[in-house]
């Protein structure tokens, strides 16, 4: 290769996928530059909100309404966003996107080293062939170019390294992994599990599988059950770039990290048909530079990676780099959020729980599995849930009066409450898309992202069933005062946004091949959520990790073989 390069590889983004790309590529001997648009965040040292006591929380933990409305209108809608975590999030005023009030899309972003790996939900479930074959079977979207057997060894590889706690269940549609000891279910959760498994054939409840260690391994500690992971964990119990992939990459001596560096676009060389440079803007000085490498891994997150590609226009690719198929930006998906049910579980008032478990229970998908076919909709959903005693925050509005009796009533915890909250698969749809609004530039002169995405008929019908089934299961478990979760959360709210640069075997219908390599540009890989061809109903992050490790392995071999 004659190209003059500064690095063997450039990884754009430092979150869940970027961290994995950096670790794999550096461990295989490549000199790697990692680019991050946000500020540096040092493990432990910069987790300034960690272990904040309730009495140190400004305004008792209430939101700083004026500030949030002005500068964090989108990010402040995130569970766990407060003064102990705000410093990890994007400032929506500084880094805006175009919001269409008629079709809102919620784009949750981090803005710092580690990306959303510091603030993610940490639930990790393997996909199965139920997911990888879904498009082919019902004709929505195109067929995945891979099957479970292609990714299974990479799931194992990733799970061992990140530390996943969970229970083996032997279900073909929710494959078991390399698990550390599961976290515990409490007394009432076990009761609900028993009831569901006895009353409904092929329905199961398990403890959430999560990337939080219950055993001290991988040079990291185990969970101490303080509760709010999102503030950062200096024990490194949960997987983040900082706790896990970054130290591994740094240990090789092959990694250079550049923070405060936003990628404007990729430069394409029509002669070599390769990306020839990454155009970077220093977020402070606004100085522009071009960095060159043999290969580029785009791991900036679903929306941001595709934004970079769409903004990388050339004579050859007037509609965005690697977009000869015209599918770039399309088939944007997220899981439906906020449908389900809750209820009071009477009795067991002498039972209580100790510890703040940063995890809940999980009911794997059951609808449209053999023996449970639905006429109304395709595919299915899973439930995250849990049971707990209602605390003073929930009870104080329920207990009437004031004085000694009121105080006495709040001394003990309230009754047990249980909830089930569904996450539903979102069918791939050409009309669900993101695009650049050339008339709206951000402070770097980059066109802002705009969205045109709504849930379709299939999702609407599925959410109806999600509520009904949740109510039915809670009722049969003995719950009273059952209520429905009916949501108007816009797409994006699940923070499981996927698609827009999908994988496929046909270059005319997809952006990436089965190795996450751009069909049109062979030294370009996209391994974050943008690559997803369908959305499954399970949380996607571990699939990005496995695909990233797999793609890095392929890329390094291809480099060695001279095929890139």
């Amino acid at each position: 290769m004659s190209l003059q390069v500064d690095y063997d590889a450039i990884v754009v983004g430092s979150g869940i996928s970027g961290g994995w790309a950096a670790k794999e590529l550096t461990e295989k001997g490549l000199k790697v530059l990692m680019l991050e648009r946000g500020r540096p965040i040092q493990h432990g040292v910069d987790y300034v909100g960690e272990h904040t006591t309730p009495w140190d929380m400004p305004y008792g933990g209430k939101p700083l309404r004026e500030l949030y409305a002005e500068e964090y209108p989108i990010q402040s809608q995130t569970h766990g966003f407060d003064e102990t975590t705000r410093h990890f999030f994007n400032n929506d005023k500084e880094n805006p996107y175009v919001q269409n009030p008629d079709k809102p899309f919620i784009w949750k972003r981090a803005n710092g080293l580690g990306g959303r790996s510091l603030i993610w939900g940490r639930q990790v479930y393997r996909w199965s062939d139920l997911d990888f074959e879904a498009n082919k079977k019902d004709g929505h979207g195109i067929d995945w170019p891979i099957r479970y057997k292609d990714i299974a060894p990479w799931y194992s590889y990733v799970e061992k390294f990140i530390g996943v706690s969970g229970e083996k269940m032997g279900l073909p549609h929710l494959p078991d992994g390399e698990f550390q000891a599961p976290m515990k279910m409490n007394f009432v959760e076990r009761k609900i599990k028993k009831s569901i498994e006895e009353s409904y054939p092929n329905r199961y409840m398990t403890i959430g599988r999560c990337a939080i260690q219950t055993e001290s391994k991988n040079n990291r500690g185990s969970c101490h059950y303080c509760g709010p992971c999102t503030r950062g964990c200096s024990a490194g119990a949960y997987f983040s770039t900082q706790s896990s992939t970054l130290p591994a990459a740094q240990a090789t001596g092959n990694l250079t990290v550049r923070t405060d560096s936003v990628v404007e676009k990729l430069e394409y060389d029509a002669q070599t048909k390769k990306v020839s440079g990454v155009c970077v803007i220093d977020t402070h000085s606004l100085e522009k530079s071009i960095v060159r490498s043999k290969i580029v891994f785009l791991c900036a997150s679903t929306i941001a990676s595709t934004q970079i590609l769409l903004n990388s226009k050339s004579e050859h690719f007037p509609n965005g780099l690697a977009n000869s198929s015209g599918t770039l930006g399309r088939y944007l998906m997220d899981h439906t959020l906020g449908y389900g049910a809750y209820g009071i579980m009477p009795a067991d008032l002498e039972k209580y729980h100790v510890g703040n478990r940063p995890n809940g229970t999980y009911i794997p998908r059951f609808s449209n599995l053999p023996g449970d076919e639905r006429k109304e909709y395709l595919r299915g959903f899973g439930y995250q849930g849990g049971a707990r005693r209602m605390d003073w925050k929930m009870m104080s509005g329920q207990v009437k009066g004031f004085g000694v009796r009121f105080k006495q009533a709040l001394r003990a915890p309230g009754p047990w409450m249980a909830y089930l909250s569904g996450f539903g698969e979102h069918l791939p749809d050409k009309n669900s898309r993101m695009f650049l609004d050339e008339s709206q530039k951000d402070r770097f002169g980059i066109p802002q992202v705009a969205f045109d995405s709504v849930y379709g008929d299939n999702e609407q019908k599925m959410t109806v069933d999600m509520v009904e089934q949740a109510k039915s299961m809670l009722k049969s478990a003995g719950a009273t005062n059952i209520g429905s979760f009916i949501s108007d959360a816009a797409p994006g709210s699940s923070i499981h946004e996927m698609g827009t640069a999908r994988m496929g075997d046909d270059p005319q219908e997809s952006v990436l091949n089965r190795w996450n390599q751009a069909h049109d540009v062979n030294n370009l890989f996209v391994t974050d959520g943008a690559c997803m061809t369908s959305s499954s109903c399970v949380n996607p992050s571990i699939t990005y990790m496995a695909l990233t490790a797999r793609a890095a392995d392929y890329a390094v071999k291809a480099l060695a073989a001279g095929t890139i």
Binding site: P54, D56, G60, N186, K351, H353, W392
Partner: protein, 196 residues
């Protein structure tokens, strides 16, 4: 060394992690617990708030609202955190207690005796009783209800201030920042709820 570094290093000298949140609050220019940025309460409003907070959570075998610094917290929230609408409802609420006591006992709330004060506050609760909290359809987004009546506001702030205070969290309830496990237990083992 800039201001940020200076604050950080000072915090390390003063004991590191324990004070990191205080540093963060200072860095962000937010106190939110101690210093009232825009104090607006007059003497009567302060005094009434003190009396009312203690009426809601009195001292028993454990500290009460005053012991836990709740009146200061309420003053801070009403002065610095409340919107104009909320502040107006709070002050009107105080006023209506006076109006009630004047009407029924021919004296101001603060001049009324304990039973009379209770009657006045019960009336405020009764007036709040018919209020319907607007439904929130977005599970991902908590919405503050500006318009909820005085009694609910007073009670909410008292409860929040008390159970997030050192006294309320540790002496009335139980606080364990590092439980090291998640497990079943018998309520009788602690006889209280966990404060967080």
């Amino acid at each position: 060394m800039n201001r940020r570094d200076l604050l950080k290093n000072t915090a390390i000298l003063m004991g590191g992690i324990a004070s990191s949140s205080v540093v963060q609050a200072m860095l962000a220019g937010v106190d939110g617990r101690v210093k009232i940025e825009r104090p607006i309460f007059n003497w009567d409003q302060k005094k009434m708030t003190q009396v009312l907070a203690e009426m809601i959570i009195p001292r028993t075998d454990t500290p009460g609202a005053i012991d836990a610094g709740v009146p200061h917290f309420i003053e801070l929230m009403v002065s610095d955190w409340y919107t104009e609408t909320e502040r107006a409802i709070y002050f009107e609420g105080l006023l209506s207690l006076d109006v009630y006591c004047q009407k029924h006992f021919s004296k101001a709330f603060l001049k009324s005796d304990a039973e009379q004060r209770i009657a006045a506050l019960e009336q405020a609760e009764k007036e709040a009783g018919s209020y319907k909290v607007p439904a929130n359809k977005n599970i991902a987004k908590e919405v503050e209800d500006e318009n909820k009546p005085f009694f609910l506001k007073l009670k909410e702030l008292t409860v929040l201030g008390y159970y997030t205070s050192k006294e309320g969290a540790q002496k009335e309830l139980r606080y364990d920042p590092m439980p090291m496990r998640y497990d079943d237990m018998q309520l009788s083992e602690i006889g209280r709820q966990w404060s967080s």
